[in-house]
């Protein structure tokens, strides 16, 4: 109990007069047994009367009968609903908090309902939460934009394979790895034969579809550790770690065969030429490896296209 009951009553009186709080006594069925002198003015509702259900006054109490039972049975100690929006339509925001405690006097039991106007605190908290949430959403949007920009910078939009920029960086790392651990690394360059003829005869949409199809075939044929990129135009590049040139050739064969099967439903056809080079002591840099694979590719073209050539240094 308060040491100074008179003072506590004065404080309560002031709070009631200033419309900061109000109270009511509730029966088990939520009906209003009695209420504070400021109850009606607090609610801006002069029609509120004894015997009326508190659920008719506060939507938040609809269906709360079980809650009152739970309080009596000690399942919950009190019932608090914080920051209930109590604004009538087209009126400024008003928030209340509702607190219900059991109250027993001799054999008479009822509930004390305390209603507090918490509008200033709620609005303050609302602003803080709003600012925090907006900041979060802004950062999330920024992250998404960055990821998209990064993708645009390093991936080819048509085939969704890494682009030349990404390839240059990746090849350096693949070569470093192979050099350090003395493991094989093959580089395969492939080019669609007579791509211009395909474009001219069937239009650029067919050419684009052909590029996408080849990219899909390459991606589906790759192991998780392989790396493929669109090197430029109709030319693609694949790094095959842990594979020497002979095994890389088997891989290239498989791509050619799969491509042929996948082209079957289309009215147009194309073939690919492939050049393969492997990392050797004589070709230990990215530039040298690319040049060897490129030379092999051009040899495949010269020798009639639709074929796979392995760099001379491998023979």
């Amino acid at each position: 109990m308060f040491e100074n009951t008179a003072l506590a009553l004065d404080v309560l009186q002031a709070l009631l007069e200033r419309q900061k709080v109000t109270y009511a006594l509730l029966e088990d069925d939520l009906s209003l047994r009695e209420f504070g002198p400021n109850f009606q003015t607090f609610l801006n509702n002069p029609k509120v009367h004894f015997g009326q259900s508190a659920a008719e006054v506060f939507d938040a109490l609809i269906g709360s009968e079980q809650v009152l039972q739970d309080i009596w049975n000690g399942i919950i100690s009190e019932y608090r609903l914080e920051y209930v929006n109590f604004s009538p339509p087209n009126f400024p925001a008003r928030y209340i908090s509702l607190y219900i405690w059991p109250r027993q006097r001799a054999s008479d039991r009822h509930f004390l309902l305390l209603v507090e106007d918490v509008t200033p605190a709620a609005l303050l908290e609302q602003r803080a939460i709003q600012a925090r949430n907006e900041l979060y959403l802004l950062r999330a949007q920024l992250d998404q934009d960055n990821a998209r920009l990064q993708r645009q910078a390093f991936y080819d939009a048509l085939t969704e394979l890494p682009n030349r920029r990404y390839l240059d960086d990746a090849l350096r790392r693949y070569i470093e790895f192979s050099g350090r651990y003395l493991t094989p690394l093959s580089l395969m360059m492939m080019d669609i034969d007579d791509f211009k003829v395909l474009n001219d005869a069937f239009g650029h949409p067919a050419g684009d579809e052909g590029l996408r199809l080849l990219a899909r075939v390459i991606s589906e044929s790759m192991r998780a550790t392989d790396f493929a990129a669109r090197y430029g135009g109709e030319e693609f590049c694949v790094f095959l770690p842990m594979l020497d040139a002979a095994r890389a050739r088997v891989f290239a064969d498989r791509i050619q065969q799969t491509l042929e099967q996948r082209l079957a439903p289309f009215p147009w056809r194309f073939t690919i030429s492939v050049g393969i080079a492997a990392l050797t002591p004589g070709a230990a840099s990215a530039v040298e490896l690319i040049k060897l694979a490129d030379d092999a590719l051009y040899r495949a073209k010269r020798e009639g296209k639709n074929r796979i050539c392995v760099s001379e240094t491998e023979k």
Binding site: D59, G63, S64, Y79, R80, L81, Y83, V84, N85, Q130
Partner: protein
């Protein structure tokens, strides 16, 4: 005047997934593009016609930000007959809210019908959660999952009515 059955339903989900917009669309039939964080709870109501008679749905639009302790959060849920749990299809992290809020409902001892909603389906380009992912979570709880847009109104009504139907089936 015959009395109308009243049922409390809760709208749950992480912040800014569109709970308030869904409630507004369902109750007032309109959409507002501004984002205003809900604090505490806003209760609105709409009477719907059912074959068994009219049903007054009390829609508890709860804050998606955890500004209160577990006890107060639990109090908001008490007395609910059903819940709509919402995620934002453009924000992957909001999918975790399905599990989080379903667990919270269970923790209060409620065994009520749930309907999962993937909101903002109109933002097709920004979509970050797949149908399969949504279905997988919904199947875990053996509850329906609908895609909706509070902005266009697509499936909003359907989601609330589906929940009402499930509540009715439970009696």
């Amino acid at each position: 005047m015959p009395s109308i059955a009243q049922k409390k339903i809760c709208l749950l989900g992480e912040f800014a997934v569109g709970k308030t917009s869904l409630a507004r669309r369902f109750v007032e039939g309109r959409f507002d593009d501004r984002y205003l964080s809900t604090i505490g709870v806003k209760i609105s109501r709409r009477v719907i016609e059912r074959s068994s008679g009219n049903l007054n749905l009390l829609v508890w639009d709860l804050s998606g930000s955890d500004e209160f302790n577990d006890q107060i959060q639990a109090n908001y849920l008490r007395g609910s007959s059903g819940a709509l749990i919402v995620c934002d299809l453009t924000r992957r992290e909001t999918l975790a809210g399905f599990q989080r809020y379903a667990d919270r409902i269970r923790a209060v001892g409620l065994d009520i019908p749930l309907v999962f909603i993937g909101n903002k389906m109109d933002l097709v380009e920004e979509r970050a959660i797949s149908d399969a992912e949504l279905q997988s979570v919904a199947e875990t709880f053996q509850s329906p999952c609908l895609l909706s847009s509070a902005k266009t109104g697509e499936n909003t009504e359907t989601a609330f009515l589906r929940l009402a139907e499930m509540m009715e089936a439970r009696g």
